[in-house]
Symmetry: C2
Subunit: 365 residues, 2 copies
């Protein structure tokens, strides 16, 4: 049996707690011989800054390059509000994304039937919701230069951010979206602001070209980002796959995640290109939720998004489909069994903490 090199980066806040639970699942899979892992662990985010003055060390980056897949918890927190910009916790995550060229961020927004009532939206609007946001992750305003703050006269300052997209960046993310749509309901909505942004003009044009040349069996629709935000609230079930840039993807995927009522449940995958020779594809898996400093350290966090992220790694990085199914079935099982952390608690259910949810998951496996 192949041994899979897995790097664990718990990060900050509840990242640490949810990573502890996923480790138990990994151990279980390893001990039962379902899969074989070589585990490394390291720091990222504020935790890394506290230890070495950088939001990720060179050593951790080397481990990331060597790994078959990375599981990341979450980064950030008020403790690091005043560290230099280059050293803020998020910079560790952004460096991983950029240096490993993890350009395709897959964010499923799925409404678990058992949790439809936890949504802000009326049940009929979200029941059965299954949207996949495909967010470009290594370009756009996150990384474009110049990105500066400069002093003008009179104590005035000028800040600049630059959004840059080249055709190839749009082409490759469009392909990912169309390919995924083919395995789903065959529909892609591409989202930008071509009415005010030149990157939006290029985005729309390139997505249309890739569609016409390679994917004209897939239904393609273009929506402006503001309309898309509206439509997500009005009628989210109209969507199958949404493909969008780094910044719009950040906001729209958070809105979509919140719609489901299952925020603490949602995993994500950030994938690189398939390497021509090795056939390898770099990948990082992380919950959609953040470090949640308000509940960190209290044992209240929901570990399901983190465990679901492991399931995505089993499926997409290791080809362990059965193991992935098994972990996902365990998640469905604990929900059916009525176990609920605070974020998804409702009347009549069994309230558990982070490790209680971990116990329940192991019992289901």
């Amino acid at each position: 049996m192949a041994t899979h090199k897995l790097l664990l980066l718990p990060g900050d806040g509840i990242g640490i707690e949810v990573m502890a639970e996923v480790k138990r699942v990994i151990d279980w899979l390893d001990t039962r011989g379902v899969a074989s892992f070589a585990i490394e662990e390291d720091l990222v985010g504020g935790a890394a800054y506290d230890s070495c003055g950088q939001p990720i060390s060179e050593e951790a980056m080397a481990k990331a390059f060597a790994a078959d897949a990375i599981l990341l918890g979450a980064v950030g927190g008020p403790k690091w509000a005043n560290v230099p910009y280059e050293c803020r916790p998020e910079a560790g995550l952004l460096r991983l994304r950029k240096d490993l060229q993890l350009f395709a961020n897959l964010r499923p927004a799925v409404c678990y039937p058992a949790l439809a009532d936890a949504s802000s939206l009326k049940r009929e609007l979200v029941e059965g919701l299954d949207v996949l946001i495909v967010r470009e992750l290594t370009g756009g305003v996150y990384f474009g230069e110049p990105k500066t703050i400069s002093d003008l006269s009179d104590g005035q300052k000028r800040a600049i951010d630059t959004q840059v997209y080249e055709s190839y960046e749009i082409e490759r993310i469009a392909r990912v979206a169309f390919e995924l749509a083919r395995t789903r309901r065959n529909k892609v909505v591409s989202t930008e602001k071509h009415n005010v942004m030149k990157t939006g003009v290029l985005w729309k044009q390139v997505v249309s070209e890739v569609h016409g040349a390679e994917f004209d069996d897939v239904v393609l629709e273009h929506q402006l980002a503001d309309s898309c935000g509206m439509q997500l609230v009005r009628a989210p079930k109209q969507f199958d796959v949404i493909v969008t840039d780094n910044l719009f993807g950040d906001i729209l995927s958070d809105v979509a995640a919140m719609l489901t009522g299952s925020l603490g449940m949602l995993p994500s995958a950030s994938l690189g290109a398939v390497e021509e020779v090795s056939g390898r594809r770099r990948a990082l898996y992380e919950p959609v939720h953040g470090a949640a400093p308000d509940i960190a350290g209290k044992g209240l966090a929901n570990p399901i998004a983190m465990v679901g992220s492991l399931a995505m790694a089993l499926r997409y990085s290791f080809g362990l489909i059965e193991a992935a199914d098994r972990v996902e079935a365990a998640i469905a099982g604990v929900l059916a069994g009525g176990f609920r952390t605070n974020d998804i608690f409702s009347e009549g259910m069994t309230r558990v903490g982070t490790s209680g949810m971990g116990d329940a998951l192991l019992a289901e496996l």
Copy 2:
């Protein structure tokens, strides 16, 4: 009685139909002696392009500079999808905003009690909702340079947009937000992405400084734009005033508007600075909804947002508080009377078209 110079720019799509109804209200106010108007009218958007090859003519711009207030319907539509970028319908609106320096865009997201059930959200989450989004409207990525698409080798292209903010632009919009909060529930949430954008870093810093120096009686909270999107869905009533940049404001205000279930009902104001000498303040009023090409020309559009925009003009530009109250009371009256256009129709109500709603409004006045 002072005569108020009002410029009407119906624009495209349903803009034309809703403007026709607001004209009837203006006539009514004028005929009854409630207010006195000198009305000018001109083209903007696709309509202007079709007539003069520009999305707004120099003549119309001159009228805009001469007006005390502008009412604008909506711009855009698929008909102009392939006109040159500089000539697209939106460019007319953007030029008005920029040249008149209408930097403060006020977008109330109010849930009319009679319409709470039209929201996607559960009634208890939106009943009584009253959020005011204060969006910066003349800076950011909408206007920053460079803003280009260039050819690279191999048929590849590179597109660039630039987000620029200077301290003074953030200071003045922050002041507007804090001042308005004082007339409301005294709370401001400032929204940016300081964790990835330098303009976000400056935004947060300047808003905090203005707060500390001039408005420390107002409660100020900072939220990242992605979190703010989530929070709008999760618990919108936590918000009083949200202050944010041009691009985030575009998306978040559309999400907020859609939450209310009253999209066709929501007016907006875009205000310039108060001029030192004349005490005048340039202003443009327009519905939050767009040109809605799918229903344009069918007599189905809801004119209430347009009529509400007139009420805002009466209040903020002309100081005609009683007239503004009267128009707003008429809006409340037709809703209480059960009149509903398609967008807000529900079982048991009286379905009306655009002019039917206009009739009902006049009857209430």
